[in-house]
Symmetry: C2
DNA sequence: TTGTAGGCGTTATCAC
DNA sequence: GTGATAACGCCTACAA
């Protein structure tokens, strides 16, 4: 690895000049610029980011926090964030906290690594203290919590209301909810939105039809499968089910099929997130669409703006109900 | 952010002593150790990794290269790698090269960032030069290519032979292959294995039944869907299809259904990777199982060993055929 | 057992 | 427009 000094030597200029052509921090004559570039090329010189970070206190390193990378929803956010970040010269590390299994050290490590910015694509109360430390440590964070600075969030309210309305109009009255998580978690807004939506439609909230997740609260295919089995073991008196995400919905569909229940003839199913798989299911899963890629991009852009002293607007994107073949009229 | 100096001051010791208790590089009396730890705690001190990196030339930063993070196969590798890495004090950045859309800069950036190690979970010829540079830059790399140092790979051969044998025994003779990529890519071993497997079974390799992918070669659900449509447009004279991965298989299933073809009664379908979704399909997708989590863990362990001057063994894991409801006897 | 000092590769502030 | 020089925070001989 050749260093800046060697490049300067090869180009016959000072080290400072090399830096200036690299960073564009000062005018350098075209001729010298050329010589320097050539020297860089020939020497195969690579700027040492660690050194730069030490000097500038900026690492060009972003972090994304998700709760389950295996959920394509987050994979998509991660991919978009990464793509946008790379275009802006940043690298991103995705931290997969297994929900509720969260350890503060993961965040402290981020501080230690001088991460410039942080996007919380998932949110749990228990990480608040750590995130607060991160803020104090100078890390810019973007999340759904105004307490941490700028906010980028998605609101499910309207979509869930629309969805419940759609089901109600199809004659459904007893709608189950597969939570995946604990409905006691304060930030678990989908459950709150669902309750509200029922209220709006004048439908009852039936406790028996609410299935809580089990620790460690990984809302995945298996969780959906087991949640539905639990529900079916409890009662069959429901005609529609809303799952906290598409994975849970798809898992639930399997459990329903195994019990000989037809979708949507017997039970209508709705998921959430609109992962690509949803439309490849048989029947195609009705779901709630959220702008996953946009979130990743926006988060990156916002962080970029903040880090460069520009302003950035807080944003709340809105989800949209996406109907599908997995819902139908209430069975006569 | 308090620095080491402040900790030293607070603990009434020298900076060197602080470092030694942090790194365990020298014996420090229990008493002083205690004082230092307390001071660290009180001051909320976080070691600056950039500074350490500059001094030691080690970043504690690993990278994983995949071609499509949205493919749960890679998400799983990424998650496992990350988990193992964190336990060892490393952080990992996952780089999603969109296959064949690869740009060398991504790798050069890794060099610039003093990444200690690199795991190529995917492989394409076009990145060879860049990876070579990474090696020269001192980055330890693990991949399927011995040229780059240690190897960690998975062999599909036996699994594919078993799979074709299974299909042959069920009476299938005309087996299609949805490549997703270009079959001309030298490293695209699944295609080679498939050809070999046909040979072993004495089955013909039918050019018409081989569907090449389209640039930019993202072998995902849509690609599978379109590949199958293309195949169906070409001929219906096949009774089984092997897809390069589960996503392609699932996409193909949709196209088949749309044409009124039943799975497995009319067409048997086999995927590859054994992503969790496979078993949640209707019918459950026969596939080829690969140890995804194990690969992520192993790669990390190997890198860790190498980086710490230990030896590590090259490993080739073997895939296994996993039957499923998506295959059945040749339709009479 | 503990402290001192030089250096890691860049940036940034100054004179030149 | 260009070139020295002092940080940046930490590690690590080497000295005490």
């Amino acid at each position: 690895m050749s260093k800046r000094k060697e490049v300067a030597l090869a180009a016959g200029v000072s080290e400072a000049t090399v830096s200036h052509v690299i960073n564009g921090t000062k005018y350098v004559s075209p001729e010298l610029t050329m010589r320097v570039r050539k020297a860089i090329e020939e020497k195969g010189y690579r700027l040492n980011q660690a050194a730069r970070c030490l000097a500038t206190n900026r690492s060009g390193h972003l972090a994304l926090i998700v709760n389950n990378l295996k959920n394509p929803r987050y994979a998509e956010v991660a991919e978009a964030m990464q793509e946008e970040a790379r275009a802006k010269g940043y690298i991103v590390s995705t931290i997969d906290i297994n929900l509720f299994n969260f350890t503060e050290d993961a965040v402290f490590d981020l501080i230690s690594r001088n991460v410039d910015g942080l996007f919380l694509a998932t949110y749990i109360d228990s990480m608040e203290p750590a995130i607060k430390r991160a803020c104090e440590g100078g890390i810019k964070v973007i999340s759904g919590n105004p307490e941490f600075g700028h906010i980028l969030d998605v609101s499910y309210r309207k979509a869930i209301v629309d969805m419940v309305k759609c089901l109600a109009e199809l004659g459904h009255e007893r709608i189950a909810f597969l939570s995946g998580y604990s409905t006691k978690e304060s930030k678990h807004t989908k459950y709150g939105d669902f309750c509200e939506a029922l209220r709006v439609q004048g439908l009852p909230l039936i406790r028996e039809l609410i299935v809580e997740g089990e620790p460690p609260y990984i809302a995945d295919l298996d969780a959906g499968y087991h949640s539905m089995k639990e529900l079916l073991g409890r009662t069959r008196d429901f005609t529609a089910v809303f799952a906290v995400n598409d994975l849970v919905a798809i898992g639930a569909m399997k459990a329903l099929r195994e019990q000989g229940l037809r979708i949507p003839e017997d039970i209508s199913v709705v998921g959430c997130d609109d992962i690509q798989f949803a439309s490849y299911m048989e029947p195609a899963l009705a779901t709630i669409r959220i702008p996953k890629g946009e979130m990743g991009m926006l988060a990156t852009d916002m962080l970029y703006d903040i880090l460069n002293g520009n302003t950035c607007e807080d944003t709340v994107l809105t989800a949209a109900f996406q109907t599908g073949a997995s819902i139908a009229k209430h069975p006569a």
